[in-house]
């Protein structure tokens, strides 16, 4: 592809103006020349023909004068003897202005007399007697042609070529006159007129050039076969244009009849023609003038036009390099340029803003970044603020040098490795950089090659990973410590676990002990209650008996003092009343003991037997009634006496029921003056027996409902509650009796505990030898 030549606008404008001007002039000159040249040549040919005719005429006149002189001499010599003839000839030749020599030749060809010009050597006289009969001129003249000219006469005097003329008189004597060729040339140049551009040749009949105004063709040329001369010899139309020695000529031929010579005038044709040359010179002159004017004016004008544009270009260049920012752009006389300046200014502002933005982004990058020229030894082109902060060099110090020159490397080998690792235009690696302060920082650097206008740039981003590495180191250490500590802790935990397991076992044991103690305590409480219950009837009985004892003594005393009737009556009445009271109380005591005995037996023996639910409920209510005796709390039962028979553990069932009743009194009615506990039972649809203990107490808080059967769950911890009552009930119902125990409660409205029991309790797998203990553990 051919690269376009790039010029300055000034040169383009200059060239435009110049080319326009020059082309216009060239065109005008060319047209003028094309129009003018044929005219010039036609004029020239006309003048040439005229000049050839003139020259021919003048030549005829000149040579004709010589011919006349020769003929005159001939008449002078007529009839004169040879000795006289010589003096006549000498006198007529004289100074040789017309002839150098004249010979008088006899009809036989012998020289009779010789006349020489004064400057000829004297021994020319020796010619007398010589035979010139073979001479060309002598032979050429005859009676018909008495006078003949020869252009190439061999001089009898010198042997050289001269121009000669011969005249034969009536007696047959021939006068031969020699004219030296230089004389002829001189004459020719005289008649042709000096200074013209026309070349005149004088050619004889044989085509030999006798003389020419240039003086250089004589002897060289024979034009016999030249078309021009051929035409002239045949008296045909003379061609006006001929070729001669490779040149194109205009030619004219005129015959000089007297001499039988031809005067050939030639003048160059085309560009060689002086007229054409002159016209051409004028054309070229005006062309050059136009060119000169153009050269003077065009650059000046172009310069004036372009100056404002140059200022814009200059300003653009300054703006590109960052100088001259913010200043107004130059304005000039060309509206388009001003508009261009305005647009350029707007563009420059936009570009500047974008550049600032980019630079700001670059500088704001939180990691050190640098741009290097890969093709220029990795010279730094720009670095951002983070880079300068990290490395310590200012931008001015860094830009223009490469990292080696800045001394950023401890070893250039590392740099070479990093640069050699390029893959797909990406570079990365960990490098240690020597900061300006001498501190060595470890960076993780990432480079990306980008090609920008055939310039390969690398954008480097680096992260100072020194701190990170330290943290990693510490973490690694800490991790190591942690593992040891964890192992240590695990050991400790294992130990603690073992300890806890042991403690748990101990606690379990303690719990079992506590449960047993609780049961015993409950039994104890029961015993104490029963004892208390027994105390009243027994006391009443004792007191009644004491009262009867007193009455008896008073009766005895009365008998001694007089028995009266009244006394007897009173005694009897006291006896009846006393014995009634005593009997009643003792019966009551007996009931109590009976009940107690059954409860105690059941509860302590965990005996399995067939029984009716109502019996157990009754026994339990009877056993607990004393606890309610001095309160307004009442226990109501609604249990069918028959139909709810069980093959189960009545002791465990009683204990569970008792705990539920005591719970109702102790917790449900806490803070209440009165309350009713209802014990109801029945058979459900699934055949199981249900037993509900319902109170109308304060109920159980919802959050406690889920944990109500957990051991040690109590709201009265420290106030006498052990938190084991409901737990024991639950275990007895679930584990021993094979039933379920559920609770529902609406706070403020009381609670309802419901057992569902199978008719037959599951067989305990425990050995019957220790039923007591098995029941205890089941309860636990």
């Amino acid at each position: 592809m051919t690269a376009l030549r790039v010029w300055k606008l000034r040169h383009h404008l200059s060239a435009l103006l110049l080319v326009t001007m020059v082309l216009t002039f060239a065109l005008v000159s060319g047209v003028a020349l094309v129009w003018r040249v044929p005219g010039i040549e036609a004029d020239a040919l006309r003048e040439l023909r005229q000049e050839a005719a003139d020259v021919s005429e003048r030549l005829e006149l000149l040579l004709g004068a010589r011919q006349s002189r020769l003929e005159l001499i001939a008449t002078l010599l007529r009839g004169k003897p040879s000795d006289v003839a010589a003096s006549v000839l000498d006198a007529n030749v004289g100074t040789g202005r017309m002839f150098r020599a004249v010979y008088l030749v006899s009809p036989l060809g012998h020289v009779e007399a010789v006349g020489l010009s004064a400057d000829m050597p004297a021994h020319g006289e020796e010619l007398v007697g010589s035979d010139l009969s073979a001479g060309a001129l002598f032979q050429a003249v005859d009676a018909d042609r008495p006078t003949v000219w020869s252009g190439r006469l061999l001089s009898a005097l010198s042997g050289g070529l001269v121009v000669g003329v011969a005249h034969r008189d009536a007696s047959g004597r021939v006068l031969i006159g020699e004219v030296p060729i230089p004389t002829l040339l001189h004459d020719l140049q005289a008649v042709a007129g000096a200074g013209t551009s026309t070349t005149i040749w004088v050619v004889d009949r044989s085509g030999e050039v006798i003389a020419d105004t240039e003086g250089r063709h004589m002897g060289r040329l024979n034009l016999q076969n030249w078309p021009l001369l051929q035409a002239a010899l045949r008296e045909e139309q003379i061609p006006s244009a001929v070729e001669f020695e490779g040149r194109s000529l205009q030619a004219a031929v005129v015959r000089a009849p007297t001499l039988d010579w031809y005067v050939v005038g030639t003048i160059p044709r085309g560009l060689h023609h002086p007229g054409v040359q002159r016209a051409l010179v004028y054309a070229l002159g005006s062309f050059a003038g136009a060119l000169a004017v153009g050269l003077l004016v065009a650059p000046f004008w172009a310069n004036r036009l372009v100056r404002s544009l140059q200022e814009i270009v200059h300003r653009a260049a300054q703006t590109t390099t960052g100088r001259a920012l913010g200043r107004d752009w130059p304005q000039g006389p060309v509206a388009e340029f001003n508009s261009l300046a305005g647009h350029l200014q707007a563009m420059a502002d936009a570009l500047q803003e974008r550049e600032h933005k980019l630079q700001a982004l670059f500088n704001a990058a939180p990691v050190p970044m640098a741009v290097v020229d890969m093709d220029d030894g990795h010279t730094l082109l720009d670095v951002n603020d983070a880079w300068t902060e990290e490395v310590g060099y200012t931008r001015a110090e860094a830009v223009g040098l490469n990292s080696l020159e800045l001394g950023l490397w401890k070893s250039s080998l590392r740099r070479d490795e990093l640069l050699a690792n390029a893959q797909d235009g990406s570079l990365s690696g960990e490098i240690e950089i020597v900061c300006k302060s001498g501190e060595i920082k470890l960076f993780k650097s990432f480079g990306r090659v980008l090609t920008f206008r055939e310039q390969r740039l690398v954008v480097w981003g680096s992260i100072n990973i020194g701190p990170l590495r330290r943290v990693e180191q510490e973490l690694r250490g800490a991790n190591h410590d942690l593992e040891a500590r964890v192992a240590q802790r695990a050991d400790a935990l294992a130990a603690a676990n073992e300890e806890l397991s042991a403690t748990l076992a101990r606690l379990r044991a303690a719990q079992a002990e506590l449960v047993r103690s609780e049961k015993m305590a409950a039994l104890g409480g029961l015993v104490a209650g029963v004892a208390h219950e027994l105390n009243t009837p027994l006391g009443n009985a004792v007191m009644a008996i004491s009262a009867m004892d007193d009455a008896t003594r008073r009766f005895r005393a009365a008998m001694q003092a007089g028995l009266r009737r009244i006394d007897l009556h009173q005694w009897l009445e006291s006896m009846e009343q006393g014995s009634d009271i005593a009997a009643r109380n003792l019966r009551r005591a007996a009931d109590l003991v009976q009940s107690f005995k059954q409860v105690a037996v059941d509860q302590t023996s965990a005996q399995r037997r067939h029984f009716e639910l109502a019996e157990v409920v009754h026994e339990m209510v009877v056993s607990l009634r004393p606890s309610f005796a001095r309160t307004l709390y009442r226990i109501e039962t609604d249990v069918p006496a028959q139909g709810l028979a069980l093959d189960s553990y009545p002791g465990a069932l009683g204990q569970a029921l008792g705990n539920l009743l005591q719970n109702a009194v102790l917790h449900g009615f806490e803070g209440r003056a009165q309350g009713t506990v209802c014990v109801t039972a029945g058979r459900a649809e699934d055949g199981r027996i249900w037993l509900r203990v319902t109170d109308d107490g304060r109920g159980i808080a919802p959050e406690l409902l889920g944990r109500i059967f957990d051991p040690f769950m109590t709201t009265r911890m420290g106030q006498g509650g052990t938190g084991l009552g409901l737990h024991i009930s639950y275990n007895a119902v679930v584990n021993l009796l094979g039933g379920t125990l559920t609770v529902s409660s609406v706070p403020g409205e009381g609670a309802c505990f419901e057992m569902r029991l199978p008719d037959t309790a599951p067989r305990a797998t425990l050995p019957p030898a220790a039923p007591n203990r098995a029941a205890d553990e089941a309860a636990a």
Partner: protein, 374 residues
């Protein structure tokens, strides 16, 4: 990297293109003409000899070109005035005009003068007339087509001996001393053994006061049987005129130099019977020579002289050598290697020094023209 300007690349492209065009044109177009040089001594003592020789060359060149040139090359004649005293400059000017071969020079002295220049310029000189023995046997730029002086002199001696002339007076033109002295010495060397004696030797040409009449008077003082002119045709004719005025029975002879039309024109009756040996048969009736004479007459309106014939021969030799030359063969080598060549009247063969031998013809002036003698 520097970007070469487009203009330079364009110029380079054109520079590469033009030789290619040139070769193409050379391959299929006409070959450049071979320029032949000719130096004419217009105002010399030889009179119209130069014109005669020039016409012979012109005719040969024109005929050669009409028949298609020599080996496809046309011949171009460049004629220049000898401008006596500046012959070397004239040859240099011819060389500058592109002339590779000079037909000439005609004078022995001139040949000797031009040899160094021709050698320096590499211009080959084919001299139709140079005879000096000193030029013979030298490997130089001069190729001669003429007899040597010795051959010419010996032939002259044989004629004089046959005519019974034993006492001879000799006139020498010292304006051409190389020829005149060498020829006369060769003549003397042959004439003595043949029983002849040169009674007088008169040199002329250097003294303007010395007239031909005086020369002849001195020649006759020794009572010779005959006079021998070692001079040009014009001078020999005028010497003969003076001799005939004094004695009509004297035997006249001349060196081959005089065998020009000027001898006949200026000699008239005086040169009748003049003997001379020349390398040209004036009475050749062979068709080739007859055709040459006709062509010459048609072209120049006259009869060819000896100069025209030998000059014509020189061009013939050159044209034939060109036809036979192998491509790239230097012209001189071609001329030397590819002979013999057919001349107008005889076969022309060169030896390795470029010297050709010609037959010497014994001639006499009879009836105003040259004729074979006796």
């Amino acid at each position: 990297m520097t970007v070469r300007p487009a203009s330079m690349r364009r110029r380079r492209w054109l520079a590469a293109l033009f030789p290619a065009f040139g070769l193409a044109l050379a391959g299929c177009g006409p070959k450049p003409p071979l320029r032949l040089g000719f130096l004419v001594d217009r105002l010399g003592v030889d009179g119209n000899f130069a014109e005669d020789a020039r016409n012979g060359v012109v005719l040969a060149v024109e005929e050669c070109n009409r028949s298609g040139g020599a080996a496809g090359r046309s011949l171009e004649l460049v004629v220049r005035d000898l401008d006596r005293g500046h012959a070397r400059e004239a040859l240099q000017a011819l060389h500058a005009a592109g002339v590779a071969v000079l037909i000439g020079p005609f004078g022995t002295a001139l040949a000797a003068e031009l040899l160094p220049v021709a050698a320096a310029l590499g211009v080959l000189m084919l001299s139709p007339t140079a005879t000096n023995q000193a030029l013979v046997g030298k490997d130089d730029q001069l190729l001669r087509l003429n007899l040597t002086n010795r051959e010419s002199a010996q032939a002259t001696v044989r004629m004089l001996a046959a005519a019974g002339c034993e006492r001879l007076a000799m006139a020498r033109d010292l304006r051409n001393p190389d020829y005149a002295v060498a020829w006369s010495e060769a003549f003397q060397a042959a004439y003595g053994p043949a029983g002849g004696t040169i009674v007088t030797t008169i040199d002329f040409g250097t003294d303007p006061e010395l007239s031909f009449e005086a020369v002849v008077q001195r020649l006759l003082a020794g009572q010779p049987q005959g006079l021998l002119f070692v001079a040009s045709g014009a001078d020999a004719a005028r010497l003969a005129q003076q001799a005939r005025k004094r004695s009509s029975s004297l035997l006249l002879a001349a060196a081959a130099w005089a065998a020009t039309p000027a001898l006949l024109e200026l000699g008239g009756q005086a040169v009748e019977g003049l003997l001379l040996a020349q390398s040209h048969n004036p009475q050749d009736s062979s068709p080739r020579f007859q055709a040459f004479q006709r062509a010459f007459g048609a072209r120049f309106d006259g009869a060819p002289g000896y100069g025209a014939a030998v000059a014509y021969d020189a061009v013939l030799v050159l044209a034939q050598a060109l036809e036979r030359a192998t491509p790239g063969e230097p012209l001189k080598d071609a001329v030397l290697r590819h002979g013999p060549y057919q001349g107008l009247q005889q076969s022309i063969a060169f030896d390795r020094f470029g010297d050709a031998s010609r037959t010497a013809h014994a001639t006499v002036v009879r009836g105003g023209r040259f004729a074979l003698w006796p």
